[in-house]
Symmetry: C2
DNA sequence: GATGGCTCTAAGCGCTTGCTCACCCTCGGG
DNA sequence: CCCGAGGGTGAGCAAGCGCTTAGAGCCATC
């Protein structure tokens, strides 16, 4: 195994679970292409070209272009849900758990904004069954955040008149980072994460 | 002039400035198609079909499919900037102006989520010159919101450690409404606007 | 009632798309 | 040294793409 590679996402070996290597190279190429130009504007020739292979090679590892998108979306949503679950189960006060959830979720959307863009904005390109599977994962992410808010309200830490609406707003705020974040911009993923965690805590704080 | 028409966007005659009628019908059809399937996945035959015309009719009123997108994007961004500017110039305290800006901006993204989705998410499909023109409008929208925050901080109404970052977050929060809002959902545009105005005011409030 | 200018259509051009297929290369096991 | 299996390729198919063109219908003007 060669030394850890840094990807365009700034993560270490984020697609390690995808084997064999040719399949992983194609998937990484697809993520880049989908993020840059969108799923529908990306051709199988473009994906194969980025991976240094012929168009036909794609179909050895994936049945269709849509299956490629599904693999990407599935892995990304699994990761996102894992981050939120880890924060929610991490212990500490509700405020600490909420801050950690926002921090790590935002950081993931910023560091992996290439991947996140595909994961968050190309959902409609999935077929019905694949989309249903992904939507269920998203439902669980929402439930995880809502749970933290409910805990905080119960313990008197938070003042949240509309828990479902605020849950939606918090997730929405984090997700939209993928749209505007620019790796060449002024802010690092950590800085954005810290800023957003602060803003979210203010949104739910009890007014003294 | 005929009686006010209600569109899928829930706005009154939002495309009244587009003439002749055939051009407007094509543009409305394009908005729906672009919002549903995305610019690249939409065919000129689909647009023309929705408008009840032949594919060739499109090219009488618009040079290319991209010009259609540009007209939509331009009109939408003009409207968005007008909303924000009206709120910023509306008088009252900074908090009142900020709340009104968020309320109307959110309401527009919810009521016209079809249009807003095209306006906010299909920017990359524009050609370089058209995109530059739109980006300038967006810069002015950002500046308008930032001005309200700066005023509020100056007057001691707001506590905002990071004005540019918070400006970005506020706009981001509002824009993302276009992604998740569903007209058949539980909330009306007015309710979302009120909720979001409250959340944003909490984000900038001085802590007592 | 011929004319010229618009709007719109039927047909289709040249090209690209997602995907397939016949075949080739490499390489470990008998 | 041959073989079979599986990853890879070049060529190409049917379908669909954005867009064009020749001409039909309409209507105000002279």
């Amino acid at each position: 195994m060669r030394a850890a590679e840094r990807t365009a996402d700034g993560e270490n070996a984020p697609w390690g679970e995808v084997t064999p290597e040719a399949a992983r190279k194609l998937l990484v190429a697809a993520v880049e292409a989908f993020a840059e130009r969108g799923y529908h504007a990306t051709t199988t020739r473009d994906i194969a070209g980025r991976a240094g292979m012929s168009p036909a090679a794609l179909y050895i590892h994936y049945k269709t272009k849509e299956e490629l998108l599904h693999r990407i979306s599935r892995i990304g949503h699994d990761k996102a849900l894992a981050l939120l679950t880890a924060a929610a189960d991490g212990g500490g006060t509700a405020a600490q758990r909420l801050a950690e959830a926002v921090r790590s979720f935002v950081r993931w959307h910023a560091e992996g904004h290439t991947t996140a863009r595909v994961v968050q904005y190309e959902l409609d390109a999935l077929g019905p069954e694949h989309r249903a599977e992904i939507v269920e994962l998203r439902r669980r992410s929402t439930a995880t955040v809502r749970r933290i808010l409910v805990d905080g309200v119960r313990d008197g830490e938070f003042d949240v008149p509309d828990v479902p609406g605020t849950t939606l707003a918090v997730l929405s705020l984090c997700i939209d980072v993928a749209r505007w974040f620019n790796a060449a911009g002024a802010r690092t993923p950590d800085e954005v994460g810290a800023l957003y965690a602060d803003l979210v805590l203010r949104m739910v704080a009890v007014r003294k």
